[in-house]
């Protein structure tokens, strides 16, 4: 049920980044959602469509990549994917304590794709080459 709050935050960031990079129409938004975040992708997509309707983001595809919960066993240090929320190491058995979470808590915007206006002649090369690397 917290999908609406997440959709609102996401739209804010997408509009901010679009303005900063001269994007006038957003076509695709790529994000990562960890399984622990308990986000229902269909609900997030529904909320996002609803609130982005009258913006340059309307009709953009939300490409949601779900990230599995991966933990590291404190005994053998092996990383393994958590299956069905039971924290059992495939080598050592049930983990008594010291669980080390490697992934599963992501709520991250990865990229925005769209059309850039090119209205003004001072070309700042908005084409794909010079991506600022993520901080």
């Amino acid at each position: 049920m917290h999908e609406m709050a997440i959709a609102e935050s996401l739209l804010g960031i997408v509009l901010d980044e679009s303005g900063r990079h001269g994007i006038t129409r957003v076509n695709r938004i790529q994000l990562q959602v960890g399984a622990l975040a308990a986000v229902v992708p269909a609900a997030l997509t529904f909320c996002f469509e609803l609130i982005s309707r009258d913006t340059i983001v309307a009709d953009a595809v939300l490409a949601i990549e779900m990230v599995a919960v991966v933990v590291r066993c404190p005994e053998c240090k092996e990383r393994f994917e958590v299956d069905n929320q039971f924290y059992v190491c495939p080598r050592c058995g049930p983990i008594p304590a010291g669980l080390d979470l490697t992934s599963g808590r992501e709520l991250t915007l990865l990229s925005i794709e769209g059309e850039s206006g090119d209205e003004d002649e001072s070309s700042e090369s908005p084409c794909g080459e010079e991506y600022p690397r993520g901080q």
């Binding site: 049920m1 994000l31 919960v69 059309e115 206006g117």
Partner: protein, 224 residues
């Protein structure tokens, strides 16, 4: 018109994180220990607060922010104990966020305050994802809810520093294995402190009070 792909890598909840940090700065500067109290509906959040005010209210100044979808019933319960309480009605939202708490803080008299408890909306899922600026997240699980809850709501258990297992007076009547709760919660969060309590009878609450007193003292040293 040209196609652009902009790599971004930004935390979607960054706006909430910023507000939570602002709240935290307010708490730290005023030397107030702030707790984000979470549980499912009916686990005993408000009862725990009433008991805590009875147990510590004569030695510490306590205030409460009450989060509920509707009604000011809980804030009135707390005000009857003679402490400041501000009600937040989320109008349907299933969790509190940093901006709601910031607004509530502005309605509180922070002067000389030792402990602020933010009682979140009853829900074991969504509140776990939204920091409010608290020093610690504290959760309650009542034994009537069952020992399987750590398996079903892992993030809540993973992010809470303290787990209060409440209503232990009901243990003879419900199928709940305390050892399973300890073991499952321990797998998710080995540093989590567990207190087994009954807010009805008062059993086990002294250990909870002692934990609060230690944390209050730790934060109070910041007070100018």
């Amino acid at each position: 018109m040209s196609q652009v792909k902009v790599p971004v890598v930004r935390n979607i909840l960054e706006a909430n994180e910023r507000l939570a940090k602002a709240n935290r700065t307010i708490f730290d500067q005023a030397g107030i220990f702030a707790v984000n109290l979470m549980s499912s509906p009916g686990a005993g959040k408000t009862s725990l607060l009433e008991k805590t005010i009875d147990g510590l209210g004569d030695r510490y100044r306590i205030a409460v922010i009450e989060g509920d979808i509707q009604s000011s019933y809980d804030a009135e319960r707390i005000q009857r104990k003679g402490v400041q309480a501000v009600q937040i009605n989320t109008d349907g939202a299933c969790h509190l966020d940093g901006s709601m708490v910031l607004e509530a803080i502005e309605a509180l008299d922070l002067d000389g305050l030792d402990l602020l408890v933010i009682e979140n909306v009853g829900n074991l899922v969504c509140p776990a994802e939204f920091n409010l600026g608290e020093h610690h997240k504290v959760m309650i699980l009542s034994v009537a809810e069952g020992d399987d809850k750590p398996l079903k709501y892992p993030l809540m258990f993973q992010t809470s520093s303290v787990l209060l297992v409440n209503k232990i007076d009901l243990l003879p009547y419900v199928d709940c294995d305390l050892e399973k709760i300890r073991q499952r919660a321990g797998q998710l969060n080995p540093r989590q402190q567990i207190f087994e309590v009954s807010c009805r009878g008062g059993a086990g609450l002294d250990a909870w009070y002692a934990w609060l007193e230690t944390e209050i003292a730790r934060v109070r040293v910041n007070r100018g």
